[in-house]
Amino acid sequence: MPYIPHTDKDARTILQAVGAGSIDELLASLPAGSRLKGPLNLPGGLPEQELKALLRDLSSRNVTTGEYSSFLGAGAYNHYIPSVVDSLISRSEFYTSYTPYQPEISQGTLQAIFEYQTLVCQLTSMDVANASLYDGASAVAEAALMARRITGKEGIILSAALHPEYRETVKTYLVGTGDHISEALYCTEAGTTLPEAIEKNISDNTACVVVQHPNFFGSLEDLAALSEVVHRKKALLIAVVTEPISLGLLRPPGVLGCDIAVGENQSFGNPLSYGGPYLGFMATKTEFVRQMPGRLVGQTVDKNGKRAFCLTFSTREQHIRRERATSNICTNHGLCALAAAIHMTSLGEGGLKKLARLNFSKAEYLKNRLKTVGVEPAFRGQTFNEFTVRLDKDPETILKSLLKKKIIGGLALKRFYPDLKQHLLITATEMNSKGEIDAFADAMAGVLVPAAK
């Protein structure tokens, strides 16, 4: 039997040792008559070779971002993952261990998380960061709950230019604790959150305002200006970053007046994998650390005074505090954080800055190429590596035509924003070659203006 080493003799030895004639005698506490009579209705087991063939066949029914040119982003980014990342996270001492409860035999995981926490702090210019959360969306929900604990206030204002699935997640998470959630409109010309809309919604009961930067439309937000509006009412400003490569180019949340920075670190070292597992990050100011959810690693010493690391501040956590814990989170996304740390480390400061400039340049090139075929940006705001365009035709039809040319041309926004019927969100990264971008623009021209018959 796969993965089970016992021979019949071993099983007999065990039964004898425990004084049972059969396994059934050990199961006497199970309700009589409820034991399954027949086998589960599942396919029969497969030898490894056949299993692999089956999985290969199943996977081949998907079209990868390598087979088609993909211009999708919207919270999940196609980036190059250096070979060192997978090689090192495949060290089984990392991936077959669990939460480092026993620090003496978990120093590897603990130091790696400590380094990851530091890298997130450096990237965001915040004081402290946790070991990871599930993903960007749940990280925003946790940040909103954290802001309530810090301020003792209830109201949550979400920018309408925050990723729609993040907004849905926040609403789902907070339903049990009273939602008090409102949305602040975005400016239809600039594609950025309207400070007036925040002024309109904010009150003395507002715990936090949540703004994504670059936002869901790809536009850059003026966090410094929003920070003034938010802090005047003694609320917290939560910055959300879904594309952290942008932090190689843009001023980080920590110097723009943000109190909590959260987001998605998938871009660093984690494959697209059809949406998960990704990696929520959270960083904040020192004064708020005891209200932060999630695991935290601290530096300390062992009994000989040697530098050592361990999990700390666990009195915030569910296994100690139970229903009074800062969060219910237990298993988080440790291996994804390791992958992110290795990728960040392998880029270094120079590499990350270059990668950010490269992403920006690819997107600007694509933006300009599309302009030449009559496709204009929908908003006037600056962007990083994605932007929204407005088409003269139904985007769904355009996307279908592009698919025939093996191009995944972006995300039609009307599924999330019924008003943006003709809008398409387009992303370019270092994975899109100049040739691909040119072909995309040409194809777009072709499908927008069908050749005269």
């Binding site: 089970i4 049972a20 506490s29 601290g298 009994k303 505090r321």
Partner: protein, 492 residues
């Protein structure tokens, strides 16, 4: 006995920032094949960043050695026996790792049109059905990212059900043996927690539930087998009573590894269960995740599961967002897909017969350890156990030795310690879960080690207090870490 643990060469390694030398790059990004954009001309200067203070600049080889050394300070399932109770540290098959890395699974964007992702949707659809069959549930969502995330999802669905029926309920009953995530998730879902004690034999009694169950109780949240490793033998009567009062029964599925192919929780009155794919279904624990926490429910609760659901019409798979009663979303996208691939691969490799054999063997192994160590260690509940058994340090306390010392000494013998000080109802608990993937020889070595440690506790207790002796660092000062927090590296 001779110890399993031997000395190896462990190398010291600074934190990565201390190895930095400005100008070095590990892996250079691709070259510019488009003109470099005039950033300063496009983006206002006050929006651009200067230095990334402290970011490390290291060479590729440095990175490889750094993380290789770190990994060598770790102990994983591949390193040795890891009987961490309640965590099901079974072998993580290598073929699953390969499966998750197939380009057709790994290089797939979540917003690709459905016609390009039929293989992924089929895999998810089938995995949902397998999990429903194993547990006896009617519908399964794969969206939650971990066990606790699944708990929250299940509880929110229960809450939504009562709101939808126009009679919201406010309380959840939780036994004192429960994982801490249960009360934490209930609180987050907006419920008040009503604790209930297990009776003398370590299981719940119908009378105890009758004493607290009323029409404000939305659910009883239990774990079965419970955290003492015992099957909740009164579950059917208890579930009938909870149902009679209009409530639901939530089962924390963390311990499902004991039940596959033996009994279906859904047939015993359980209405909601979360599956920990990283426990029962062999996906690796990753040093603390990522896991995956699908949720199975009975028909009445299916309309409330998160969106999207996966639908099959003839032979085409699609994502169904039109679910007006749904609780919404637990996260962006559809769940931890690459973990689902691993679990799918495991179930297909094992088949029905293999899964049953896995559960039976897990039970055999736990009972073997229990029988061999009772007498040496205090066994608070002497009953046939399921997949794990719980001892305490009662017999050793007299020598001034406690559970933590026993755990640390095990490290010197080459074993990962069991779960300690949990469940809370057993003072000084030592919770051992061997899993089905360990050989009899390994179990024997572990038993001999545990007996040797009990002997040492009498003859040389200091050896336990000083343990572990062979690790990279010795006893770590966790109090100092909390009192003088250093949560990040800073340039000294």
């Amino acid at each position: 006995m001779s110890m399993n643990g031997a000395k190896g060469l462990l190398l010291e390694e600074p934190v990565i920032f201390e190895k930095s030398s400005p100008g070095r790059t590990g892996v250079e990004p691709a070259s510019f094949d488009v003109p470099e954009a005039d950033i300063e001309g496009i983006i206002p200067k006050q929006m651009l960043r200067g230095a990334i203070e402290g970011f490390p600049d290291v060479s590729e080889m440095d990175i490889v050695r750094h993380y290789t050394r770190l990994s060598q300070w770790n102990f994983g399932v591949d390193s040795g026996f890891y009987p961490l109770g309640s965590c099901t540290m079974k072998y993580n098959p290598k073929v699953n790792e390969e499966a998750a890395r197939l380009p057709g699974f790994a290089m797939l964007h979540p917003y690709e049109p459905e016609e390009l992702t039929q293989g992924a949707l089929q895999l998810m659809y089938e995995l949902e059905n397998y999990l429903a069959e194993i547990s006896g549930m009617d519908a399964v969502t794969l969206q939650p990212s971990a066990g606790a995330h699944g708990e929250l999802c299940g509880l929110l669905a229960i809450s939504a059900y009562f709101k939808d029926k126009g009679r919201p309920r406010t309380k959840v009953i939780i036994p004192d043996t429960a994982h801490g995530t249960n009360p934490a998730s209930s609180h987050l879902a907006g419920f008040k927690v009503v604790p209930v004690k297990s009776e003398g034999r370590g299981v719940l009694s119908l009378d105890a539930i009758k004493g607290v169950m009323d029409r404000d109780v939305a659910a009883l949240m239990l774990t079965n087998p419970n955290t003492i490793g015992l099957f909740e033998r009164n579950i059917k009567e208890i579930a009938d009573f909870v149902h009679k009062k209009g409530g639901f029964v939530y089962c924390d599925g963390a311990n499902l590894n004991a039940l596959m192919g033996i009994i279906k929780l859904g047939e015993l009155g359980v209405d909601v269960i979360q599956f920990n794919l990283h426990k029962t279904f062999s996906t690796p624990h990753g040093g603390g995740g990522p896991g995956s926490g699908p949720v199975g429910v009975k028909k009445a609760l299916a309309p409330y599961l998160p969106v999207p659901r996966i639908k099959k019409t003839r032979s085409k798979y699609s994502l169904d967002f039109n679910r007006p009663k749904s609780i919404g979303r637990m996260k962006a996208f559809y769940g931890n897909f690459s973990i689902m691939v691993r679990a799918y691969s495991y179930i297909r490799r094992m088949g029905a017969e293999g899964l049953k054999r896995a559960s039976e063997t897990a039970i055999l192994n736990a009972n073997y350890i229990k029988e061999n160590l009772k007498g040496t260690y205090h066994l608070p509940y002497d009953e046939p156990c399921m997949h794990e058994c719980v001892f305490s340090d009662k017999y050793q306390l007299g020598s001034g030795v406690a559970t933590m010392d026993i755990a640390k000494r095990l490290i010197d013998y080459g074993f990962h310690p069991p779960t300690v000080y949990f469940p809370l109802v057993v003072h000084g608990a030592i919770m051992i879960e061997p899993t089905e993937t360990e050989t009899l020889e390994t179990l024997d070595k572990f038993i001999v080690a545990m007996k040797a440690i009990a002997e040492e506790a009498k003859t040389s207790p200091q050896a336990l207090k000083d343990a572990p002796a062979n690790t990279k660092v010795q006893r770590v000062d966790e109090t100092k870490a909390a009192r003088e927090p250093i949560l990040r590296w800073r340039k000294g």
